[in-house]
Amino acid sequence: MERVGIIGVGQSAFVRGYPGSIRELAYEGFKEAMEDAKISNGDIDASIVCSAPEYDKQRSPAGVIAEYLGLTPQPTFYVESVCSSSSTGLKVAYSMIKAGLHDVVCVLGFQKMSEISSAESQERMGRGADIQWESPFGTMMPAYYAMYARAHMAEYGTTEEDLALIRLKAATYGQLNEKAVYRKPVTMEQIFDPERPPVATPLKVFDCCANADGSSCIIVASEEKAKAFCEKPVWIRGLGASSEPVNMAARDLFTGLNVAIEAGKQAYEMAGVGPEDIDVAEVHDCFTIAEMMAYENLGFAKPGEGKELIGAKETYKEGKIPVNVDGGLLSKGHPIGATGGSQIRTIVLQLRGEAGPMQVKDPEIGLVHNIGGVGLYGNVTILGRS
């Protein structure tokens, strides 16, 4: 079977208030990926631009971004699945290459969350859920994940301290990642500071990732082109994707994310591997509880035993299954459309042995878990050195 490989990865620094326009922000991730791939614009046959449109003032951003990156007249279009947009973009790129339509496809994820005022942002946040049946109650993203946290705590005895351990791990590696927005150390005392009210009980400020501006870029190629262009292509081994009802009332699981379980199953099956074969993983830790559930939904721990995994530091760099050793969304920040690409970049660098101070020892197979909305969309991607 013809394989599809990743030949270049890049991302901008994730920052608060990027001092430039969206096309300039997109350029930063693109430049790094192009220099990594050592190819020129003409080598790219198509581009896929990924972001969450509620933050964009520009209508149909794919056009202006393709223009700025010198990717016209090749086809370009926009892909959206909120926070999982760029891993959806990767799947589309894979499909186009497998179909034989194109040989080299650029997946560009970006988000300039500061493009709109924080009041506008707050207003849009309220519409992140089912606007007909949930938003009229005044819902916010953290409160939804908080309901999952409370259900997980009630079912398995998980505690706020267990969740705090995940933030401590994120901060440990965030300090090493020069592209992360939050690079300060974090202590238990800070996390449990009684002066800070919870954001949405039981989640506190440090349980939540921060908004950021950023871009990411992944260059995907057919096996033939990947071998021609790249010394160390990383191969796409498994792709899984799933969706779940937006409305909480239509769901039946509140201690985990069905989309992650389902997408994970598909990705493992396609790759012919299991959770025990994964050497390094990036999971969508928009909230600490999200990482806890990811451990369990991906099979790194049994349901309810995620707390033992983090408690024993098994998801640290030296552990059984290193997770988010780049600081995760909690430290890096979460520029919606750029996040999946940033996760993919991290795993590609890990598999190439180029992750610097965050490098895990000799990984063969890596996994990316990228979730859109509150478990609304789920993408699991498995990458391998061979």
Partner: protein, 147 residues
Amino acid sequence: MAKGKKKKEVDDRFKRFGTVSFTAISKVNDFVDYLAQGKVMGTKCKKCGTVHFPPVADCAECLSSDVEWFEVTGTGKLVSFSKLTYGPVGFEDDLPYAIAILDYGDYKVFGRIDKNIPDEELSIGIAMKTKPITLPNDQLSYVFTKA
């Protein structure tokens, strides 16, 4: 002479649902009238019997749009809840408030918990009821109260 143009009637009753409504027009606008009458209603497909809350105008299971209303009655079990300290624009005056899910067995209901219930009386699994209310801004909604 300009002829007196008759303004087309728009059935936008749905804009009365919730503290801030983001939807004005829906085929299930009657939901709002029922709320005004003190009833929280879901729908049941007459053809295949599938029960829906929130109500739907169309049944994707059997592609029938012949649905009937049923009232949410009795008690549901509290599935989970979270109290918000920060809210979106338009909800500032309501803060803090708790959102929650009740499980009625055949269906679940998403909504808010009655503010009069002290935090210490809330825990997953308790029985609660869904009660229609009129909000201070004359909007219509419902809250979960203790059974």
